[in-house]
């Protein structure tokens, strides 16, 4: 049920909670939201519910001190959250995947940002305890973000009294984002995932070089539509509940450089590292070696945050090197040439870095790269025309998948989303996705067919 594309979520949990939330007197709504979130989390990962509640209590208590601007409280709070995250990252990676609590990467980061913001900000109005608690727990964000800032919650409509004439249009607006997200997730991401899985079935050591590149593209698109779709659904639910729309993706593949790509990709994570790590370390102000050090720290941490295995660290370091080369070398080239190269970075190098991100097994990763760059060995078994079948079977996913990389298409839909024809389009997108999700819920072979 913690999957937003799950029909039980869409047609049971979400409408029930939405109605309960709005029939609650507005002063108590955050209380309703917290209870709903606890139920949601319990349904997803009951074993670690106690850990989440423990973290919420500890952070709420420490917040008393950080609000009084006591630095020791802030340091303890940061250490506590970081220790929690690191411990379970390592346990989950090296002991058992079952030891990784649902959403811990996101809720600890929200807690850290809360403590730092509370310490720094000059607002002397103390946030209500229930507001803090509901911010930590809120179910649309607990599993995979976005990492909303507390400030955004304090300023939103959710905590004010609203008339039904304001509430219904907000739900409508949120539903539109949700519909778009659902379409990306079910109709694109899940299908790209099947595509990449089929390549895995062959065994990376036996794929042809064209297939290796198609696989890199397929996985990149899978990840993009999965996370963008998820983020749209999460933000849409937030809007339904009176929170602001949190933008987490802004057409990253239209970026003119890798640095820009990461200002448009998983934006709430990027701005977290920027605001709480990169800038406090001095950012790029002091120039030279210090900037280099700060960048390295940020990218190593970003890698580790995604997972405690070697490939994620390698992924972070590769991005560091690409961004460094953009900062140091490309600037010296003529403008047109440097633009060309940095665009090529986005469209060619980024997919290759996603391969590093995708394959956690070092040996398999090496196999995959030996097929991407087939200069070192020839596979024992390989079908040189293996890509023909994949292209034929997945062309209908690649075409819309590539088209939606063009910002104008999505932007136009959203710009005119209140026109009847776009509403109709979103309605169709939503229900086609529901139809496919429903078929797969009853028939596990719809997505995993052999």
């Amino acid at each position: 049920m913690t999957q937003f594309s799950d029909l039980s979520f869409i047609f049971r949990f979400l409408p029930v909670m939405c109605v309960l939330y709005y029939v609650t007197p507005y002063r108590l709504r955050m209380f309703t939201l917290s209870i709903a979130s606890i139920i949601f989390y319990a349904a997803g990962d009951f074993r670690f519910l106690a850990l989440l509640l423990f973290a919420v209590i500890v952070n709420s208590l420490l917040a008393e001190g950080t609000f009084r601007k006591e630095k020791s409280f802030l340091i303890v709070a940061i250490l506590f959250n970081v220790a929690l995250l690191v411990t379970f990252k390592i346990l989950g990676q090296y002991v058992s995947g079952a030891l990784f609590p649902l959403g811990i990467s996101f809720y600890t980061f929200k807690m850290i940002s809360y403590q730092i913001d509370l310490y720094k900000e000059e607002d002397d109005k103390r946030p209500a305890m229930i507001q803090t608690v509901s911010y930590f727990l809120m179910f649309p964000q607990i599993v995979q973000g976005p990492i909303m800032r507390f400030q955004e919650m304090r300023e939103c409509a959710a905590i004010r009294k609203q008339a039904i004439t304001d509430i219904l249009p907000a739900v409508e607006e949120g539903l539109k984002y949700f519909a778009a997200g659902m379409f990306f997730k079910v109709m694109l991401a899940d299908r790209f995932s099947m595509c990449f899985n089929e390549i895995g079935q062959i065994g990376y050591e036996s794929i042809s070089t064209p297939l290796a590149y198609i696989g890199a593209a397929g996985y990149s698109l899978n990840l993009y539509y999965d996370f963008w779709g998820y983020s749209l659904m999460a933000a849409g639910i937030g809007v339904m509940f009176g929170f602001p729309f949190i933008e987490n993706f802004h057409h990253p593949y239209a970026a003119a450089s890798v640095s820009e790509f990461y200002r448009r990709w998983h934006m709430t994570l990027g701005s977290f590292f920027k605001d709480y790590v990169y800038i406090p370390l001095g950012g790029s102000k002091e120039g030279g070696v210090k900037t280099l050090r700060n960048l390295l720290i940020v990218w190593a941490l970003t890698g580790f945050w995604h997972g405690a295995s070697f490939n994620f660290l390698l992924w972070g370091l590769l991005l560091f090197l690409i961004i460094l080369s953009e900062k140091l070398l490309l600037r010296r080239l003529p403008k047109t040439l440097s633009t060309l190269i940095s665009r090529a970075h986005v469209l060619l190098l980024i997919p290759l870095t996603w391969v590093v991100f995708a394959i956690t097994d070092d040996k398999m990763l090496l196999s995959y790269f030996s097929r991407l760059f087939p200069f070192f060995n020839t596979p024992a078994v390989m079908n040189p025309s293996d890509y023909v079948r994949i292209v034929r079977d997945y062309a209908h996913v690649f075409i819309p998948g590539l088209l939606f990389l063009v910002p104008a298409i999505y932007d136009t839909i959203m710009k005119y989303k209140n026109k009847w024809y776009m509403t109709l389009l979103l309605y169709a997108g939503l229900w086609v996705s529901i139809y496919h999700a429903a078929r797969s819920s009853g028939n596990p072979f719809m997505y995993v067919n052999f």
């Binding site: 079935q201 078994v381 078929r439």
Partner: protein, 375 residues
């Protein structure tokens, strides 16, 4: 308020659609969709309607009228008559006149029910794939055996009568599996799902010889209906394709995609129908009923529909379909299982398919388990 209603078309349309599909799902739950695998606790009832929609099954019919999938697809108008029908018309000899001391063949499958006769002789043992028959051949002389080797099985269990024409038409087979070379597959057809697609793609020696009608997600339920057979004349259904070409060997490797639907009995019934139809379309061919390959322990542990218990149950039932005359059961798991009877983990990525490099094991198994006709 009226103004507000105008502002929320998507919400209203979605609520109405949800209510309507829930209504259809609920109606169907007690009728057309009664047999669907569905748990109310896990999924809203509207999902039933969508599953039905995918099967082109409307909710407003009773359960009895629904489920066209179980119906036979045998084409009664096909040019070639069924052997059993021929048996009625053709001049017949009494088998006992020809072969001394032959018992009526107990494993002859009764036509109507597809089940074994109710009473079996005490000393009867179910034939395995080693071609051991219940018939007492030890009393036959060499000449009889050579001449009439396997005919007795086709005798009518009641009368012991065998249609004459079978005496001429049926070749006898060598008494067990033999090892052959790649040319054996020159006149062979493989019908299967993604696993067979893999076999065709990653065993070039086999692909160069054999014909493959295989498609990802293919199932026994749909194999005779869906157009997926790639022929020089284009893509067509298997029956269409088989009208133009005669094969000597047909390998059927299906079943993994329908582990989650229907019962073993229903699956085997449908499988039998497919085999019978293939026999009519390809009277000269022998048919290999291929056991489903096991899944890995990891896949098994996921606890889904795809697990080795179901696979073993269904394989076991499939092995009973073989008459060791025209149809033979082969179990390639011998080549790919580990000691505990599951697919070896290093041969697979997803626990269900062989990796490209592993298909050779399957191919070697096929080379070592061939039935050779002695004309």
């Amino acid at each position: 308020m009226k103004e507000t209603v105008k502002k929320i078309p998507l919400l209203l349309a979605t609520i109405l659609t949800a209510l309507a599909t829930t209504f259809f799902g609920t109606v169907g739950r007690f009728g057309a969709y009664a047999t669907y695998r569905y748990t109310f606790r896990d999924t809203p009832v509207m999902a039933l309607f969508f599953m039905g929609l995918a099967d082109k099954q409307m909710p407003f019919v009773s359960a009895a009228q629904a489920l066209p999938r179980t119906s036979t697809v045998r084409d009664e108008s096909a040019g070639e008559a069924l052997p059993q029908e021929t048996a009625q018309a053709a001049p017949a000899n009494k088998i006992t006149d020809l072969v001394p001391q032959v018992q009526p063949a107990p494993e002859a499958v009764t036509e109507e029910t597809g089940e074994l006769p109710a009473s079996l002789p005490e000393d009867y043992t179910q034939p395995a794939h080693n071609l051991s028959y219940a018939l007492d051949e030890s009393t036959w002389d060499e000449a009889t055996r050579n001449k009439y080797g396997r005919i007795a099985l086709l005798a009518d269990p009641e009368t012991g009568i065998v249609p004459t024409q079978y005496f001429e038409r049926l070749p006898s087979y060598s008494s067990g599996f033999e090892t052959v070379d790649a040319t054996y597959f020159r006149d062979a057809l493989f019908i299967g799902d993604s696993r067979t697609v893999g076999l065709s793609m990653y065993v070039p020696d086999l692909n160069a010889q054999a014909t493959f009608y295989a498609k990802t997600s293919m199932s026994v339920a749909h194999v005779m209906e869906q157009p997926f057979a790639e022929t020089p004349l284009g893509v067509m259904t298997v029956p269409q394709a088989l009208q133009g070409t005669q094969f000597q060997k047909i390998y059927v490797a299906l079943g993994i995609n329908e582990l989650g639907s229907g019962s073993t009995e229903h699956f085997v019934e449908r499988y039998q129908e497919v085999i019978e139809e293939l026999k009519v379309l390809q009277p000269d061919a022998i048919i290999y009923i291929c056991a489903m390959m096991h899944v890995s322990q990891k896949k098994d542990d996921e606890g889904g529909y795809v697990n080795n218990a179901v696979i073993n149950d269904r394989n076991n039932a499939l092995s009973q379909l073989a008459d060791n005359e025209k149809t033979f059961y082969i179990d390639m798991n011998e080549a790919t299982d580990d000691a505990s009877g599951v697919l070896q983990s290093d041969l697979t990525f997803d626990g269900v398919h062989l990796k490209a490099v592993s298909y050779d094991l399957w191919y070697r198994y096929l080379l070592d388990h061939a039935i050779v006709k002695d004309y």
